[in-house]
Symmetry: C2
Subunit: 289 residues, 2 copies
Amino acid sequence: VAEVIAVDWGLTSFRAWRLASDGTVQDSVSGPFGIRALADRDFATVLDRAVGVWRPAPVLMCGMIGSRQGWVEAPYVAAPAGLAAIAAALAPVPGIDRVWIVPGVSQDPPDVMRGEETQIVGVAGTLGPGRHVLCLPGTHSKWAVVEDGQVEGFRTAMTGELFGLMRAQSILAPLIPEDAGDDAAAFEAGVARAREEGGLLHHLFGLRAGVLLGRLAPAALPSMLSGLLIGHEIAGLAAETREVHLVGSAALAGHYARALARFGIAATTHGEEAAAHGLFAIAREAGIA
Amino acid sequence: VAEVIAVDWGLTSFRAWRLASDGTVQDSVSGPFGIRALADRDFATVLDRAVGVWRPAPVLMCGMIGSRQGWVEAPYVAAPAGLAAIAAALAPVPGIDRVWIVPGVSQDPPDVMRGEETQIVGVAGTLGPGRHVLCLPGTHSKWAVVEDGQVEGFRTAMTGELFGLMRAQSILAPLIPEDAGDDAAAFEAGVARAREEGGLLHHLFGLRAGVLLGRLAPAALPSMLSGLLIGHEIAGLAAETREVHLVGSAALAGHYARALARFGIAATTHGEEAAAHGLFAIAREAGIA
């Protein structure tokens, strides 16, 4: 029997961990049944199928499951916000025993996160006092400033989403061969280009012109596009930073670490179980675990 | 009978003018049969149907009809390039009497234009000597420096294409009500936002956050998006410029003029018949007209 069941339920994915009373992961399950895939909105059945065998332990969930399109809306907590403020604002799921949803965090100037606050809490517990910059790369990358364990503020960049749109839907798409793979040199060239003048809108078109004029191999286009976008993200949000804590998959964090190095920024990478650690910390703070 | 038939044949549109021996427009025709719509690539039939009654006058065409996906590829002329260099590189269409295609212009660092060089030639003839900055807003906006009638260099921004992708395909799309119209204040706010730090990738996500937090009316989102993108285009490519010649439709040029004013940049707008004037000048230079 679990002490607490931790669930990270996003738009496109579902991950759950069975956590022991000291927070260690005893078991885990994941699948592609993000909330976007659940047209019938039968969240209770999905949850029961995924983690029913671990019940009746309490369940704490984070991510888009707490959004307006999710199961129960868990209103945003305004930054600055730390473990205490987040744990005090859990939204109980009605009609089901001991299931709660972690709120997202908002801030002014307007920005929002939902799910990443839990990963940040998970990592912040390992960082010690002082001021730290965290980057959570993804469809909507988050850059957060954590001070003494509290989220002081954060900013989002639409990097991953723009990469997907450009790669699949833009005038660049038909230029890209199907077998285009990872090209480290092209990625670095993209990062370098992002640091030159002209702006992102101009640099994006340069990929097309480079291919048409035979200066960029079509198979290298996606890697240069990735470097260009990540480079612009860093230039916009972290150019003055000296050290960044990356939270995410090894592959994506590796790309970001290489791009950050081009800006002279050091990077430390934290694993993907940050959400599980954060959910455990919140559950303890809330008295659930 | 026309002296020369001028055709601007792009990806999505076709425009043709019957020009008298002094270059004045005597008649015109246009339609949505851009080269992208012609899956059977039967360009000869489309041309004959559109302008056959004006023949046997010579036909001079510009635009994507001269690209690899077009009728006959007219290789790029490298900038700096003026009327003489462009007129010397016309590509004759084989198998049909007296039909030519104007080449595009390329440059290094890699950039390309096809069709806009002709509009620039058309406007340049009215500007007199000296250095001028021209902006041709659109799906792929062109910024060109013209000196003594010659295209010295140019840069492209993917502004219009990104607007379309963001409005229709991104996470912003479902936020936008169907009846969203033109909102001048939101457009101005977008231009102003583009001048703040953070970068375009961050500012784009701010539109979503603004709506979610009730700080931006959903119906105002497209106008703010437009201002944001045009503002970033100007910040990237024209922040040091003091005066710009806009070439394009009154609606789009009007938006750009308002955005330029926020940067303290004066704008003069030139009409949409720039392509006809440019084609006439090139035809004369080439001895066709």
